[in-house]
């Protein structure tokens, strides 16, 4: 079990949080989940996950801000960050990538699509 990569999931919508968690766990990941940006940032610091899947639109600190904070605190290492967004404007995607995210998945997403992007970012074979 300890070989399973630890993934940080942050989404204020509980259903989606569970859905993402379920999909990741079925794909063989361990998951720590947060409902707010602040919590996500705290968990990221506390657990040093292998990957973070962050919803962009969260009350309080948004996924973009969390990404920026993580990137600011990093020292030589780099945690892959995948954004989940319900917004489709290209500007949002650009902002995300500019903030330091490594990729994004649009909501609604299909299970296989999500898992494929996660595996890519974890450097695992599909």
């Amino acid at each position: 079990v300890s070989d399973a990569p630890l993934v940080l999931v942050a989404d204020d919508d509980e259903d989606i949080r569970h859905l993402v968690t379920l999909r990741l766990e079925r794909a063989g990941c361990r998951v720590v989940a947060a409902a707010t940006g602040d919590a996500a940032l705290a968990l990221a610091v506390a657990h040093d996950p292998a990957l973070a899947v962050l919803d962009v639109m969260m009350p309080g600190m948004t996924g973009l801000e969390v990404t920026e904070r993580i990137r600011e605190s990093e020292d030589g290492t780099r945690m892959p960050i995948l954004l989940l967004t319900a917004r489709v404007q290209e500007a949002d995607v650009e902002h995300g990538l500019a903030a330091g995210a490594d990729g994004y998945v649009k909501k609604p997403f299909s299970g296989p699509e999500l898992i494929e992007r996660v595996r890519e970012l974890l450097g695992l074979a599909a």
Partner: protein, 748 residues
């Protein structure tokens, strides 16, 4: 040939030398044959001769000559020519003539003569005394004959000269008196002297000579001549002092001058003698050509109507200067009533004319100024206050033909006229100009004009008022303009205030709109997010169930779950379309332009719809050229293709077909989607691209759709700088054509 020949015959030595035939020409016709015969007689060539014959002088006078000549011989002894002298012997010949006439005949002539005829011998003793001599001198013939002539009729002071004359004649054959007609004083018996005209002839007789004196008492004539001379002298002085040329001329076309005074030289620059008898020029020749006719007309009228004539015309001076002259003259008629002369005087009036012209110009200038000055100007006489001068502006102001000769009362309403007259009287009485502010004047057509007038008294040298000058300015327009300006100003201020209010309102609205816009953006984002989030869960968990992550699913359950999933997808699609339209509205549609293979895009699209087409039994086919070099937003173009192709399948009944075409035409990539569907009625075709518009057929056949697909398709085509068009026939089919420019598409 000696120079004396000129005195004798009037021809110069040079003329004699120049014309060898002159001698023959001057021979009197009666003597010519005889003389030529003698001179050319071959037998007499070597003999000297003395001949007396007649010649004719230049002036036609017959001159008797004595010609004595000797032949001149050449070396060979042949006579060449004659050399000799010519003497004027006319006097002697005349005397001989007299002598030849019989004595009786002489006496009868002498006695019958009007003159006193006195004869004397060479010693000066009277030998003849005719009847007239008795009357004239008071001596009878008996008393006179035998007396010395000098003592009888020559006044003592002249006796010495008389004696010398006789002596000279006796000595030389010529003298100061003989053969002449002179005027001298003679003496009566009572010692009184009187003027006579005297002609003396000498009659040689053998060795001696007799003298005949013809004397005519010219006291009367002399007296009248003296009177005339005195008169002429007076007139001459007078004429010389007249500042003009006095003339007497013929009424011919040259105005041939019989007399013209020297003043003409001052006027024309040519001396008076030039004109006399047209010696050098005619007077007509110095008249300015343009004026000739007028002068002729005036003079002829004077002649015709027997009255003096007056004319003014121009003369061309010797120096080319043109002078104006004033001529006054009158015809002088002979007893036969024919015009003999024109007498008159010519005065140089150039300076006066110039001054007149100058004055006329000044006057014309003044008139022009007065007439064109844009102020109404009038002059009234000081007594009756009648208008004596008005200018054009005044007539225009008052209207009508103008009030010349009228008074204010004659054309203004009484009250107005009285007020004007009162002002006029005040100005004339006060003697100083006054200015009258604004007055309202009633014009001829009843209109009202607002005027401002300055009134000035004009007085004679004694200070008595002569005229009243008025200068009025029509300020109606100005007043109106002022009022208009004020009105405009007020209106402008109002408008400005309104505009200001409108602007601030607009700014407010703008702000409001911006707020709304912002709100809308936020709303769209929110809706997008808030709708997608639950859909994400719905679809996500459905997928989990369908993936049997929650346990086995029966076939029936799966069919139901698929319905839920399909509708969820529809809802998701709708949300996407709404969001897209909102973006287009906000002008926020941005394209990511990259090279796109439209053929590949069309093939992908076809593959995506193939299951749906197959399900419905619609044949779908792609005919694509290789269109290269096109750049566009792959995602959006894919959406565009999908919209068109999905529509085509939706509206095409089972058994129909949909043809997708991609070709290059006129620098454009042309994508066509043609179906054999129900078609679109013409009245709907225009509205097809309107937002939320749904074709009647779609509603009727309950074909699903939001009415946004074509709106979005059009927006995408236009965002690429292209167009979208439709051709359709009901029951036959519909073709959509999208033209996208290659290479120079609109920037994102």
């Amino acid at each position: 040939m000696s120079p004396q020949i000129e005195a004798m015959l009037g021809y110069t030595v040079e003329e004699w030398r120049a014309d060898p035939d002159l001698f023959v020409k001057t021979l009197h016709v009666d003597d010519r044959e005889r003389m030529l015969a003698r001179l050319t007689d071959p037998n007499a060539k070597h003999l000297p001769y003395v001949e007396e014959y007649r010649m004719v002088g230049r002036d036609g006078r017959v001159v008797w000559v004595r010609d004595g000549a000797v032949p001149v011989f050449d070396d060979a002894g042949t006579p060449k020519q004659f050399q000799g002298y010519l003497l004027d012997i006319t006097e002697r010949k005349l005397a001989e003539e007299d002598a030849r006439i019989g004595v009786a005949r002489v006496r009868s002539i002498v006695d019958g003569a009007l003159d006193a005829v006195v004869s004397m011998d060479a010693s000066g003793t009277i030998t003849g005394w005719n009847a007239n001599a008795e009357t004239v001198f008071g001596w009878t013939a008996e008393e006179a004959v035998g007396r010395r002539l000098a003592d009888t009729i020559v006044p003592p002071p002249q006796r010495e000269a008389y004696r010398r004359g006789i002596d000279e004649y006796l000595r030389t054959g010529t003298g100061p008196v003989v053969g002449q007609r002179i005027e001298v004083n003679a003496m009566r018996r009572d010692g009184t002297e009187f003027p006579v005209e005297l002609a003396v002839t000498a009659v040689p007789s053998g060795d001696t000579v007799f003298f005949n004196a013809f004397l005519r008492d010219i006291s009367q004539r002399r007296a009248s001549e003296d009177a005339l001379r005195a008169g002429e002298e007076r007139y001459r002085t007078l004429i010389e002092n007249i500042p003009g040329a006095v003339y007497r001329c013929s009424a011919d076309e040259d105005w041939t001058m019989a007399f013209i005074s020297d003043e003409i030289e001052t006027i024309t620059g040519y001396p008076a003698s030039d004109y006399l008898g047209n010696a050098i020029r005619s007077f007509a020749s110095v008249i300015y050509p343009d004026d000739v006719e007028a002068v002729n007309g005036m003079v002829e009228a004077g002649i015709r109507e027997h009255r003096p004539f007056v004319c003014e015309y121009r003369l061309v001076r010797a120096d080319g200067d043109i002078r104006w002259v004033h001529e006054k003259g009158q015809p002088v008629y002979g007893p036969d009533g024919v015009t003999r002369w024109l007498d008159g005087a010519i005065f140089d009036i150039t300076e006066r004319k110039r001054a007149e012209d100058e004055q006329a110009r000044t006057q014309a200038l003044l008139d022009t100024i007065v007439d064109h000055i844009p102020m109404a100007l009038f002059v009234k006489d000081a007594q009756e206050l009648r208008y004596v001068r008005v200018n054009r502006a005044h007539n225009e102001l008052v209207g009508g033909k103008g009030p010349l000769g009228l008074r204010d009362r004659d054309f203004y309403p009484a009250e107005l006229a009285d007020s004007f007259v009162a002002e006029d009287r005040e100005v004339l009485a006060g003697g100083a100009p006054i200015e009258i502010g604004e007055e309202t004047l009633i014009t001829a057509d009843g209109g009202e004009r607002v005027i401002r007038t300055a009134k000035v008294p004009i007085r004679d040298e004694d200070g008595r008022p002569l005229y009243l000058l008025g200068i009025s300015e029509d300020i109606t327009e100005r007043k109106e303009a002022e009022r208009e300006r004020e009105r405009l100003l007020a209106a402008e201020q109002l408008a400005r205030a309104e505009a200001e209010a409108a602007r601030s309102e607009l700014a407010e609205q703008n702000l409001e709109l911006r707020k709304l816009d912002h709100l809308k953006d936020e709303f769209v984002a929110l809706v997008s997010h808030e709708l997608r989030t639950p859909l994400t869960s719905i679809i996500g968990y459905l997928d989990l169930v369908l993936d049997e992550e929650g346990g086995p699913v029966t076939e029936e359950q799966r069919r139901f779950l698929e319905v839920i999933r399909r509708n969820s997808q529809r809802l998701l699609h709708l949300v996407g379309d709404l969001l897209f339209v909102a973006q287009v509205d906000a002008g926020k549609l941005s394209l990511e332009k990259l090279p796109v293979d439209l053929t590949e895009l069309a093939r992908d699209c076809l593959e995506a719809v193939r299951p749906r087409a197959a399900e419905k039994g619609v044949h779908v086919e792609l005919a694509a050229d290789d269109v290269t070099g096109f750049e566009g937003d792959r995602l959006r173009l894919s959406q565009l293709f999908d919209n068109l192709v999905s529509n085509a399948i939706k509206f095409t009944p089972t058994g129909g077909r949909v043809d997708i075409g991609v070709v290059r035409r006129n620098g454009c990539a042309v994508v066509t989607v043609a179906d054999t569907g129900i078609g679109i009625p013409p009245e709907e075709q225009a509205r097809l691209f309107e937002r939320f518009f749904r074709a009647d057929g779609a509603t009727r056949l309950a074909i699903q759709g939001t009415g946004l697909g074509l709106t979005i398709s059009k927006a995408i085509a236009e965002a690429h700088g292209g167009t979208i068009g439709v051709e359709s026939q009901e029951g036959v089919g519909t073709t959509f054509a999208v033209e996208l420019p290659i290479g120079s598409g609109a920037s994102s």
